[in-house]
């Protein structure tokens, strides 16, 4: 199956994700979400958290009746030099068959080598070799799952001496060669741009808007370094930073309204706080939608 073919036949799902704000559903909020059915357009979960049976899957079965669901994988390791873990891919498909998600996504990263899972989204050297490995694995995944996936730009704290391709060109090439979409994590762009001295606006401007299927927003922390500079750490442990909201507005102005997810994984706050962040995204999305209608009318 070629990327061209996939890109023209990609189906988002029977219950598509609207260009509105959603929240990352974590187990701390399972009961509250089922009880209160909060006013939010869609939800995303980590696929790996629903690979067993029992309570988590029972909650997700209930939640999916009321909300479109996106399955976001964190363990497939698309960038592994030694190939994909087919057992893991089979587990992903099993969750997908049960949940029938509207979207599925993974990362431009790797986490498995020599049969060891390094439990993190590790940075790839930005080389032609890594690009062809990632493309091969995206195609393998899309063929196996019989659907288009989105791939997310990572947040990184180091770069490799032998990298030759800017990250924004790398991710664009993956989308162009495989027909997959892009999950544009605006917080990750901000964090990586700060850490590596890139220009975040230039990064955004280089992405192909038509291929972006979703936006992620999250909080990050700032770590002071001995030399007086700072490192930004993508820890999903706080509210979205003001600078990231500003970059998000820039993304909406450039790409138009897109499904936007608030992620919060550490020090998970009460559901209301998460919903408050989603409302902040909603008001910006409404502004972008109005702008888009005005442009259409003109």
């Amino acid at each position: 199956m070629t990327g061209q073919h996939l890109s023209t036949t990609a189906v988002v799902g029977a219950n598509p994700i609207p260009a509105q704000a959603g929240i990352g559903l974590r187990f701390q909020h399972h009961q509250a979400v089922v009880d209160s059915k909060p006013d939010v357009a869609w939800m995303e979960v980590h696929t790996e958290n629903y690979m067993g049976g029992g309570t988590p899957l029972r909650y997700l079965d209930t939640v999916r009746r009321d909300y479109p669901i996106s399955l976001h994988g964190v363990g497939l390791s698309l960038g592994s030099a030694e190939g994909l873990d087919l057992t893991h891919l089979a587990r992903i498909r099993q969750v997908a068959e049960r949940i029938e998600p509207a979207l599925m996504s993974e990362h431009i990263a790797w986490s498995v080598v020599g049969g060891t899972y390094l439990a993190d989204l590790l940075p790839l050297p930005m080389t032609e070799e890594a690009l062809s490995v990632v493309c091969r694995h995206v195609e393998q995944t899309q063929t196996y799952l019989k659907r288009r996936i989105l791939v997310e730009n990572p947040s990184t704290y180091l770069t490799f001496a032998h990298s030759t391709i800017p990250e924004w060109e790398f991710i664009t090439a993956v989308a162009e060669r495989t027909g997959c979409g892009i999950l544009c994590d605006v917080n990750n762009i901000y964090v990586s741009a700060h850490n590596h001295g890139w220009d975040a606006s230039t990064y955004l401007a280089a992405l192909p808007g038509a291929m972006i299927g979703e936006i992620h927003l999250a909080g990050h922390s700032v770590r002071p370094l001995a030399d007086g500079t700072t490192l930004r750490i993508d820890d999903h442990g706080s509210r979205v930073a003001a600078e990231v909201w500003a970059l998000y507005e820039e993304a909406l102005a450039r790409f138009g309204p897109l499904p936007t997810l608030i992620e919060w994984d550490n020090h998970v706050p009460p559901l209301d706080v998460l919903l408050g962040e989603a409302r902040q995204a909603s008001s910006r999305l409404a502004g972008a939608a109005k702008e888009a209608r005005r442009a259409d009318a003109a």
Binding site: G54, G79, H88, E97, L158, A161
Partner: protein, 270 residues
């Protein structure tokens, strides 16, 4: 120029073995090598958290610092093999048994063994229970040939300390119950099962346990009944069936199957 595999092996050595040499030579010139610490920290913290979620009573018994120190050594020796951390940490009970700083807590490995069975039960795949009508439909002469397939959440353990009582008291934060426990070694036989309301841990006596173990190991029913002495095995079998501990059966000596046990459902194996 290093290959992708060389980069990944270099990072593995840095994160797991704490040898930064290889990876450090691959970094861009302006990147300080201590950036590798951030990834190592995320790896160790993330996997420690997974271990803590699987072993909550062990964690409470030994405290944060002890647990983190033990986990760090364990993780370096037994890094995760797959991106499915619910299944990570099977070797932790044996590790604790050999871990000198834990020697004073002789019951700790048994509590860990129970917690591993509980964790397995929590995350076991969902399966429909065996319908009794399927059994009833068998010809009487075939009933002795039934080999049961246990529900994936079933665990059977033999431990030397009252791990079940310790586990319950610790997770209930019941200091009075903990203080009242007799912590001398004595054989304890346990059956673990996930029920809709949560995981249940049941004590069995030696004969009951052997019978349950024979059935769960897929021994033909007649053989298991013949070996069960001194207990009302037929009544016990009825209790296992009523508690939905089996999901299917095959018949010994024939290819005929009620329902084959299968880890991943058949239609989606890779």
């Amino acid at each position: 120029m290093p290959t992708l595999l060389e980069v990944q092996n270099g990072l593995r050595m840095s994160l797991v073995d704490r040898e930064d040499g290889e990876a450090a030579t691959m970094l861009a010139p302006h990147v300080p090598p201590d950036r590798l610490d951030i990834y190592r920290n995320t790896f160790v913290t993330g996997v420690t958290k997974a271990l803590r979620l699987s072993y909550p009573a062990v964690h409470r018994l030994v405290g944060d610092d002890f647990f983190a120190a033990a986990a760090e050594i364990f993780i370096a020796r037994n890094p995760p093999r797959a991106a499915h951390l619910d299944q990570y940490g099977a070797e932790f009970p044996e590790f604790l048994e050999q871990f000198p700083p834990a020697a004073a807590l002789a019951y700790l490995p048994d509590v860990a063994r129970l917690e591993w069975a509980v964790t397995q039960a929590i995350h076991a795949l969902d399966r429909e229970a065996l319908a009794l009508s399927q059994l009833a439909a068998l010809a009487p002469q075939d009933q002795g040939r039934v080999r049961f397939a246990p529900h994936p959440s079933i665990g059977l353990l033999r431990v030397s300390y009252p791990a079940d009582l310790i586990w319950r008291a610790v997770l209930d934060c019941d200091d009075a119950a903990l203080a009242a426990l007799d912590l001398h070694p004595a054989p304890v036989r346990l059956l673990v099962q996930r029920l809709p309301a949560g995981v249940e841990v049941i004590r069995l006596d030696e004969s009951e346990w052997r019978f349950a173990a024979a059935l769960c190991a897929g021994q033909p029913l007649q053989a298991a009944l013949d070996e069960a002495t001194g207990i009302d095995a037929a009544a016990l079998l009825a209790r296992h069936l009523a508690a939905e501990r089996f999901v299917g059966f095959t018949l010994a000596g024939s290819g005929e199957a009620g329902e084959m046990p299968n880890e991943l459902s058949g239609k989606c194996s890779p």
